[in-house]
Amino acid sequence: MKTLGDFAHVLRTRVLTFVTRRSIRLTSEGVRFLLFTIGIGIAAINTGNNLFYLLLALMLSLVVVSGLLSEQCVRKLTFHRHVPDLIMANDPAMVSLSVTNRNRWFHGYSLRLFDVGGGQDLDRGLFIPYLEARRSVLLSYPLLATKRGRITLEHLRAETLFPFGLFLKRALYPAETTVLVGPPIKPLSLRFVEDLLSQGQGHPLPRRGHGTQLYNLRLYRPGDDSRSIHWMTTARTAQLIVRETEIEDQRRVTVVLSLLAPDHLDDLFERTVTFTASLLWQLSQRQYPLRLIVGADDSGMGVGSDHLLHMMKALAICRRRSPNGKDSRASRARWGDLGHHESGYIVALCPWSNGGPQEHPFVADRLLEGTQLEELTRAF
């Protein structure tokens, strides 16, 4: 249910959109042109010379033509912005923008396009010199986010100086797009990662896969490799039984990120998030089954790029919580569900702790706290 504040925000946005939907500004050339026009107008009024009036009419008609044609240039445009599901902070990502001129007759000329986010025009260097009527053009530009989180691009602004460069006609089009920005991926100390991996060797999880050790016996299903039939059991049971093997590498890691941090540790918290993302990326490159627990959000154990993307999204939107806040307790809730059998090697990252036993209701195999994190993320 929307609150009154939301309603006021929506109303304000609508009003602002309506007010700023079209605007026109004089360029420096336009100012000079208008000054000349005023001068000729004064001369015409003073002398009553009709040829002066004719020249004045010419100047005014050029002003009117400017208004008419620039309006035609920026109207009936359709924009479709295509952004990646997730982009990483400080890593340029390509955004493509499809611009369609729905005018039946009028072509568009000299169109400059701006992303509008947070009430500000963001110049992406987008310029369309010529856009035919009923045609589209695909533009692309790099989008560089400096902070993780959500970036909302509310509108697109089209502006043109066409035809004479006297006026800058601007039009605002709604094209709301939300971009999820993950934390940047930083190189980690190789020694730290190797150390972490060597410690995690003792936490295998039997999983089906290519290997030599027996994992399971089960009934044959169409499509199974006939070479994997376990003939002895088949003979004993008079049913076709196949042999499943266990994967050789069975290490798995659970990364737990504590969201609790006071205000003055905000920078460390952000670096910890970056560290977490970098660690997950490193482990994912080594095909580790991974699980991420961020506050109350649990990704579950998984492998592959989709799973990594899911975890990165969780890291993109996680927010620091004050230890004294009302939701600090909720962020600890799922930690109690951790069990070594499922979670494998548990790495806990706590940018802040008060040292009390209740802070970590689970046993982490590796706990990285404030000082260690400070040391590890100093280079970030």
């Binding site: 050339e29 000079r32 000349f36 000729i40 001369a43 015409a44 009024i45 003073n46 002398t47 009553g48 010379n49 009709n50 040829l51 002066f52 009036y53 004719l54 020249l55 004045l56 009419a57 010419l58 005014l60 008609s61 050029l62 009117v64 033509v65 008419l68 044609l69 359709t78 369609t100 729905r102 072509h107 000329y109 000299s110 400059r112 110049d123 260097g125 987008l126 310029f127 369309i128 010199p129 010529y130 053009v137 533009l139 530009y141 100086l161 066409f162 035809p163 004479f164 460069g165 006297l166």
Partner: protein, 730 residues
Amino acid sequence: MPFDRAFRLSSLLLAASAFGGLVLAQAVPSWLAALTATILSLSVLAAMEISFFAEFPARITVPARLWNVLLIGAFLFFLVDLAAISGDLLPAGIHFLTLLLSLKLLTLHQRVDYRHLFAISLMAILASAALTTEIWYVPIFLLYLLTTVWTLLLYHLCDVDLGASPPARSSSRQLAHEDQPRKIRANFFWLTNGIAVLAFGLTVAIFFLLPRIGAGMWQKTRGDALRTTGFSERVDLGTIGAIKQDPQLVMRVELPESQQSRRDRLYLRGVAYDRYDGRSWNTGSPRRRNQGSTEDGIFSIIPLGSRLSGTVSAPIMQDILLEPLDTAVLFSVPVAVTVTGEFPGVQTDNMGAIFLPFVSSARTRYSVTSREPLLLPAEQTAQRMDYPRGIQDRYLQLPELSSQVADLSHAVTRDAATPYERIMAVHQHLLQSYRYSLDVETASSAHPIEDFLFTRKTGYCEHYATAMVLMLRTIGIPARLVTGFLATEWNEFGGYFTVRQRDAHAWVEVFFPRSGWITFDPTPATGAGALRSRWEALSRFSESLRLHWDRVFIRYSVRDQFAMVHGVRETGDAARDRVRRWLTKMSVSVASVLQTLAGNVRGITLGYLHLFMGLAVLGTALVVLLVRDRIGLWMATCLPSSRKHPAIAQLYQRMLKVLEGQGVRKPPSATPREFVHEVERCWQAAGPLVSDITACYCRGRFGGKRLSSEELTRVTEQITRLRRLTRTGR
């Protein structure tokens, strides 16, 4: 042509059009005009990249300091020009402007130079507008408008590096169409010219709508008045002859459509003279009387000695555009009754001449209503006439003449029984017995009329008219000499007379006690203008254009604006009345038809009514049936669908129906993609359309996303195209 070259060329043409205006206004001395024209021509050739001249501007590598010195020199020249040579701000300013133009043409390197060139061109076209009202300004203005549109457009679009384009801007821009060369192509060419046409239309509209407010704080009249002779208080005999070869335009006299039957000749009366001293005519009394005007600015002219009651012609309306003359006389068909014009007052003398209170230095437009006195039949046959004493004293005056003149008069009128016959006898005698010639020197003659009548027997209008006046006076008939213009050059394109200096004329007014002053012209026709070539027709056409230009643009005033508003209001009223009448007529017709129908219904049975209603319902159903597809498509795409299936599903069903109509039926077991293959196999032409629609259908139905309105519109269009296809080889 690349944008940058087109921009340079259009800029130079813009400057050339403005400079052409100054040259045509004769505001630039020939040496300066030649210098500027040479530089301009070289610049244009360089802009066109003609090999030899291509490097012309680049070769001008004079240090900036020298240019500054040249500019200061030009300004000093302007001061000297203002103080000593021209002595006037406007010509001195124009000379300075032309020098600046020349200097700027030599230093066109950066965008700011082009901006300066545009400003100088604008000042130049403004200056030429101040100097002229001639029609040559029209092509100059049109060229200026066209080149302005081209130049401003290219100035904006041209990203050629002229030395000052900001690097940040060019680097920040990403060209979406890198492969599109920045050249003038057909669509751009027509677009620009279309913009110019639009600008021209708007210019004309705004010109007529701009309120005309004349403050006139620093207004300065300019222009040399046309020197003419024969309309002062004293006129020496032979002065008109001096201008009889001059083709300069004096006035244009427009007649209403109903009075254009008088297009053969029109006497435009100027000044009348009563006293002749043997060598010159003069008006007896120089006193003039101010005429009062009505609230509408109409001046009533009541000439003394004229009798207008009962013996006058129908009103003759004339709209006269008088060039600036060195006389204050207003010309009109005799006898003027009213004069209307934008002047503060009108004066008349006691012989019916009309004057402005001052000599106008600008063109004067005025309208006159005249009524020509007609000679009463009774006075044509009257044996004798009793002239009032005042008339006799004034209009029977004779200088010291040879008795031969009186003898000749009596001899000529010997057989005439009545005064009118005597007048006609003298008239005929002069018409038939003398030869018209402008090659007559009378300045040195002591007795020019005697020389004309008895020695040379050749002369022109002044001699004829003076001789007639004197001969009539010798036999006791009051007469006077009138000078003015005899308009014979009818312009059939504009419906007006063109009057030139050479049309200056003198004729005679003879007094009849009851009819008043009647015009007689004893000068024989010269035969000029009998043959009219095509060239003359063209000349008359251009002359009529000039008049229209003058009337519509140069003379356009607040009064015309009121007239226009009034005309629009009247047109609106007329249209409203017409619509009202038509509606009334239609309602009457409909009422009568309904009445008839009602009578029939009452008269026969209710069956007809049922039949009528049934036909109406049937017709409506038929229409709905015919356009059901369109209605369905509209409902599917435009109305918010409340059904389970989205709009694309309905459109897909519609496509299947269309295909069914062509014999291609979708089997229930076939998936959409399989059906596409089936269609492509059995109806190749429809394959791409069906494939595209199916792709949209799959995306919209199973993709979990609503299709955009553009996509739905496209699908609708494709279904329409599919319906238009006809399957062959079924």
